[in-house]
Symmetry: C2
Subunit: 205 residues, 2 copies
Amino acid sequence: MISKATLSRLPIYLNYLRGLHSDADAYISATAIAKALNFGEVTARKDLAAVSGGGKPKIGYKVSDLIEILEQQLGYNSLTKAVLVGAGKLGRALLEYKEFERYGVKIEAAFDSDFKAQNRGVKTQVFPMEQFENYCKDNDIRLGIITVDVDSAQPVCDRMIKSGIKAVWNFAPCNLKIQNDILIKNENLALSLAHLNITLNLKNI
Amino acid sequence: MISKATLSRLPIYLNYLRGLHSDADAYISATAIAKALNFGEVTARKDLAAVSGGGKPKIGYKVSDLIEILEQQLGYNSLTKAVLVGAGKLGRALLEYKEFERYGVKIEAAFDSDFKAQNRGVKTQVFPMEQFENYCKDNDIRLGIITVDVDSAQPVCDRMIKSGIKAVWNFAPCNLKIQNDILIKNENLALSLAHLNITLNLKNI
């Protein structure tokens, strides 16, 4: 049984290894991975041993094997189906973002109350909001992405929960009210940029 | 002198207070803020006292005053100028994102090597990459945003550093190589969604 803490770090290892663009037969040690990611060496070694059974002495892990093992472990072969509400600029950018499927999530459909937004050329089909509840129930959707503006975010979130969605990825910069058993991850891009800006101003470089 | 730890939390307080959409004369206690943000009560009380001189006994802080104090403290009246490279879908979504200026950063210009991208209808002007270095030097730009694809990210980052940029906000899902004195914040959206997905699958709700 792999611990929750280990599981939560697996995508970070996977992301790092993919970013290396290594040769087919390249090897890497747990120590090198730990150093690159600023993790403790013991943590990295234990995490990787838990999923892989351990690397080869002195040379470590074959990068391509480790990537495959991590993908399997994270269930990336069985994609979680998600829906997105709000097919504006940010929403459409996310719909065309290719990386999500490589990390286990497929945005199956998008919804928008604006008829024009429904007909903009994106690969993923954009449906009218009236079809939202039925779509989610029929397709057993458990993950919802909110890219509407602040004023619409709470009603959209409420409709998601009512339709059976259990995890919400929210890009609207506001505090959504949800019950305790629903997962929420706020992606406040302005806050993220603000942090970088403050650090820059503090360092005064 | 306000500590770095306190400063790093100020945008989070500001974001929370703005999200309340309070009446003009509403008050809030440090305790209530701490609870909502999952911060320690002592932390929140000390942070807010450091910037404001303390709330009124029993009733706390006037929300509108506290927002104004936080904005002043964070220098949000003197916007940091930023440039963005990569005027694709995600880049253009960021260019139209209104929240950044409310958090102290203004994206002054965007750059793209693709002539078509330069002429897409966004408010912020999109210049050809040839003008990048001069623009950054002439306008004393210290903050750069990367929204190009993985293959172009490292060369773009290198050009940013050479042009005097000291902080990089990177949306390309890769590990950029930079010198130690440059700040980098990786915004890996796929990784963020992957974490939510794993937590959802773990909870099995």
